[in-house]
């Protein structure tokens, strides 16, 4: 027995009001007489004054108000569901990377699946279930159904993802589950109390905490260094409360570059230097020691090639050319950089002839030289028009104006640090084509959101755009470090090989394709994706590892890295201990799961009506005896 809306118990104040009204009404019409002596022989019954009098009308009204108050407060009793009365359940599963943690013979998701199957098996006939999963976003995996076979299949199809479970996705999942009368939430860490409270306002929520181990190692980051020049670094973290061995191997292609076994102290994070590696390529770091989560035991990084690469820097400002050259050398010391004023470069290009080396990258500041012929192009502060001609179709951008200043608003690159608000100087208003991925946006006077940085793969090669001006040594100014980070990030992406992409899991990846593309996932499953009108297929890697996209005889490799400090930290045991009351509550609610709350609203209202009817009958009789004036 309990109350669904205990706050409505405030209506119980009406009882106090009734008592006041009753006491007030007890003051019957008073006649002041000269002497009570005259009434000594009055034959009518004379009642002496009493402070408490049992008045049936009062008790009936009290019963009426009590019943109505309890009805408004939502009095209910727990009772077994009546046969044939189907309840609706929602089974909500956390599919974050933490649920893939191995414990015993299975994963945490397997444990959750078993508990869910137990609930389904114990449910009375006629109960309906839905399956909802969430990680990056919520998804209804199976709508409400009483078909147990399809439910079991839907549960069996659940696979944990190599992404963190987002709180917003949990909220969305619980909102979608609200149509059910009872929600069973399976997760490896307790959600915020407020989230459960919101969901509990619409349905009964049972939380099932799964998992207890904390033995997990993760590769936090991998820096390949510069081949033949600087050492690389791998950062390893032990999330366990115990010391943990870690056998680390780093491969470059098919060659093992590094292999070492470390002993990590409890919850220690170590930096493991290696190399420098001999050549460039895809570097793969692996933790060979078995631990709970596999997804964070692998990490990929691309080491730039050590071969000399020609880079052209064009800018009308000599200081800018110098700054950009410094930045390029910092990114790759093997770059052979040529700087020129765009006005003079044409003559040089014409003079270079057919023996000129191919350009790896052309960086154009406040200019556009279509004849540069670089494999990739970075446009910085692109001008409005180039000699009254629009940009080439391969570039696809258009400049619509210039702002005196702009503030960086958001920065969407996964592996780069978040950029807070930073005021830049002059900034172009650039319209980017749809096939370009927007990396950063800015706000300016009269503009709530303008593109600040974008990158895409055009037919002629990768193209990057930075809309802000870098004059006045902006890239080297300590106060504008974020602008430098953004520039370096774009340069790295533009100089990366075309057929290799290294992205974080959960990121949207756009790969050039013609017609259809065959996408092979890390688990060797394959699917066919149709390219969009810009000749790109978009995939969202939810597993850590290598994806291959084959289209038109070309193969692009997409390496997806997973690491999330919160999700990989499997300190679920200590959290479970900290949330022991919540677990007990969940256990208690599970014990009652075979019973359902039955509101007593109708019974209470019927009682109130009965009491009012009896009171009316008494009043009618009273009126017949003493007259209406005394009712």
């Amino acid at each position: 027995m309990g109350l669904l809306n205990p706050q409505n118990f405030i209506y119980g104040l009406s009882l106090a009001l009734l008592v006041l009204i009753y006491l007030r009404s007890r003051s019957r019409p008073t006649i002041e007489v000269s002497s009570l002596m005259l009434f000594d022989e009055a034959p009518a019954p004379v009642a002496s004054v009493r402070h408490v009098r049992i008045d049936p009308l009062f008790w009936l009204e009290m019963a009426t108000l009590t019943a109505l108050t309890l009805a408004i407060a939502g009095l209910y009793v727990m009772r077994p569901p009546s046969p044939g009365h189907g309840r609706s359940h929602a089974l909500v599963f956390d599919l974050g990377a933490g649920m893939s943690a191995r414990e015993g013979s299975g994963t945490r998701l397997d444990q959750a699946r078993r508990e869910a199957m137990e609930i389904i098996n114990q449910a009375p006939v006629g109960d309906e279930f839905s399956v909802i999963a969430y990680a990056l976003e919520a998804q209804v995996r199976h709508p409400q159904t009483a078909n147990l076979a399809s439910l079991r299949k839907a549960l069996g199809d659940l696979v944990p993802m190599a992404v963190p479970a987002r709180t917003a996705a949990l909220r969305a999942a619980l909102i979608r589950a609200r149509i059910a009368s009872e929600i069973d939430l399976f997760a490896d860490r307790p959600p915020a109390t407020a989230i459960l409270a919101d969901a509990a306002s619409a349905a009964r929520v049972n939380f099932h905490l799964v998992g207890s181990g904390d033995s997990n190692l993760a590769i936090v980051s991998l820096d390949p260094g510069i081949p033949g020049a600087t050492r690389g670094r791998a950062v390893i973290r032990n999330f366990s409360a115990r010391s943990h061995p870690c056998e680390l191997a780093i491969d470059l292609g098919n060659n093992e570059e590094f292999h070492q076994t470390l002993m990590l102290a409890p919850r220690e994070q170590v930096v493991v230097p290696f190399g420098p590696i001999r050549t460039g390529g895809v570097l793969h770091a692996r933790i060979l020691t078995p631990d709970a989560i596999d997804a964070d035991n692998n990490r990929y990084a691309y080491a730039p090639s050590d071969r000399p690469a020609q880079v052209l820097v064009l800018s009308p400002d000599a200081a800018v050319r110098d700054d950009i050259a410094r930045v390029l050398l910092a990114v790759n010391a093997n770059f052979q950089i040529e700087t020129a004023d765009p006005a003079k470069y044409l003559a040089q290009a014409n003079a270079s002839g057919p023996n000129a080396k191919p350009l790896e990258l052309a960086v154009m500041h406040d200019c556009y030289v279509p004849a540069a012929g670089a494999a990739s192009t970075l446009l910085i502060y692109p001008p409005h028009l180039v000699k009254n001609l629009p940009y080439a179709a391969a570039i696809g951008i258009s400049v619509q104006g210039t702002l005196a200043s702009a503030d960086i608003r958001s920065y969407g690159m996964g592996e780069a640090p978040g950029i807070e608000s930073l005021t830049l100087g002059a900034t172009r208003i650039v319209a980017i084509p749809e096939w370009m991925d927007l990396i950063a946006t800015a706000t300016g006077p009269g503009h709530s959101s303008i593109p600040l940085a974008a990158i895409g793969r055009a037919a002629g090669g990768p193209v990057g755009v930075l809309a802000f001006d870098v004059r006045d040594h902006l890239l080297l100014a300590p106060d504008h470090l974020d602008a430098l980070v953004l520039t370096v990030d774009l340069i790295k992406q533009l100089t990366a090989p075309r057929d290799i992409l290294i992205v974080p899991t959960g990121a949207d990846v756009s790969v050039p394709a013609t017609g259809t593309a065959r996408v092979t996932q890390p688990d060797a499953s394959a699917r066919t994706v149709t390219a969009d009108k810009w000749g790109h297929v978009r995939i969202r890697p939810l597993q850590a590892g290598r994806y291959t996209v084959e289209s038109g005889g070309e193969t692009t490799q997409v390496f997806a890295n997973y690491y999330d400090a919160a999700e990989s930290d499997l300190g679920a045991k200590s959290q479970a201990e900290a949330n022991a009351p919540a677990q007990k509550a969940a256990a208690a609610s599970n014990a009652q799961s075979a019973r359902e709350a039955q509101p007593l609203v109708f019974i209470l209202i019927a009682l109130a009506l009965l009491a009012l009817t009896i009171e009316s009958a008494l009043l009618i009789g009273h009126a017949g005896r003493w007259g209406m004036r005394h009712v």
Binding site: T30, F39, A42, A44, A47
Partner: protein, 301 residues
């Protein structure tokens, strides 16, 4: 307010022909005499008698001695000097029922009797008594003899308000403590009090050689028990005691029986102690009470 009626000229004209029905005329003692004989000090000759030693030589009829050579003593009829006190009950019970205006009736009767008493130049006063917070409050006007000063009663009569408890015995004690000559005391009350208290008080007045007359005042609603029917809380105006009771068709006869019992008991007490008893029921009957009821009972003539 009915008491104002007692000062209306039209009403007073009807009282002009009435005189107070006092049975005994008393003389005023003119000091202690050795022989103890009493000589009237009036101016109206009464008789002649032979002089006897010790008689007051001031009353010798010297003309008769000169003519008859006998010492003759002229005697005079003494002037009547009766103090009349109209004692009005001003307790809270006299104020209820309000529409009956019992106190107004009692004050009007008291003032009327004072006016009538002034016809014979009797010394008249009006007093009102009630018990307030355990102390007897007895207020009275000075004695007035001549009708020219009748209007001096008006401020007092108009100022009397009903309140407090009825303690007739305590009021009589106050009256007797003033040690006034025995006179006439007209007690005007509803006598809704303890019978023994009433009888004891009246007995003490009689014992003090006062000529006592009782006017029993009662309201019309009260005497006819014309209350609305239904459930009521009934509160005693004097004691504050509350009873919840049901007033219905059977209540009125019971109340009337009780009133009749009270009247019968009062009549019995008065008869026993040779007290003139008169009823004055109903404020609307003031004129008929003064012109017919009281003369019929000998209170006025």
């Amino acid at each position: 307010m009915l008491e104002a009626r007692a000062f209306e000229p039209e009403f007073l004209r009807k009282l002009d022909r009435l005189v107070l029905g006092i049975k005994r005329a008393r003389t005023v003692r003119a000091g202690q005499r050795a022989l103890g004989r009493i000589q009237g000090l009036g101016i109206e000759p009464e008789n002649f008698k032979q002089y006897a030693p010790g008689d007051d030589l001031r009353f010798l009829d010297w003309n008769a001695f000169a003519r008859l050579d006998e010492l003759m003593l002229r005697t005079y009829r003494a002037d009547r000097q009766v103090e009349v006190t109209a004692l009005v009950d001003a307790s809270a019970s006299m104020g209820l029922p309000e529409r009956d205006d019992k106190l107004g009736l009692a004050l009007a009767i008291g003032a009327s009797l004072a006016y009538i008493g002034m016809a014979d130049n009797d010394a008249v006063r009006i007093g009102a008594f009630s018990m307030h917070r355990g102390a007897m409050k007895f207020d009275a006007t000075p004695f007035h003899r001549r009708r020219e000063s009748y209007l001096n009663f008006r401020p007092f009569v108009m100022s009397v308000k009903a309140g407090g408890e009825t303690r007739l015995g305590a009021a009589v004690d106050q009256l007797l403590l003033q040690r006034r000559p025995a006179g006439t005391v007209v007690v005007i009350s509803d006598f809704l009090m303890n019978e023994s208290d009433v009888e004891d008080a009246l007995k003490r007045l009689v014992a003090a050689r006062h000529e006592v007359k009782v006017v029993h005042v009662m309201g019309e609603q009260e005497s006819t028990a014309s209350y609305p029917s239904g459930l009521f809380r009934v509160r005693d105006a004097e004691s504050g005691e509350v009873r919840e009771t049901v007033l219905g068709p059977a209540t009125a006869p019971a109340l009337r029986r009780k009133v009749e019992k009270i009247v019968a008991r009062m009549r019995e007490i008065c008869t026993t102690h040779a007290i003139t008893y008169a009823q004055a029921f109903g404020a609307g009957n003031l004129e008929s009470i003064m012109e017919r009821e009281l003369p019929a009972l000998g209170i006025v003539r």
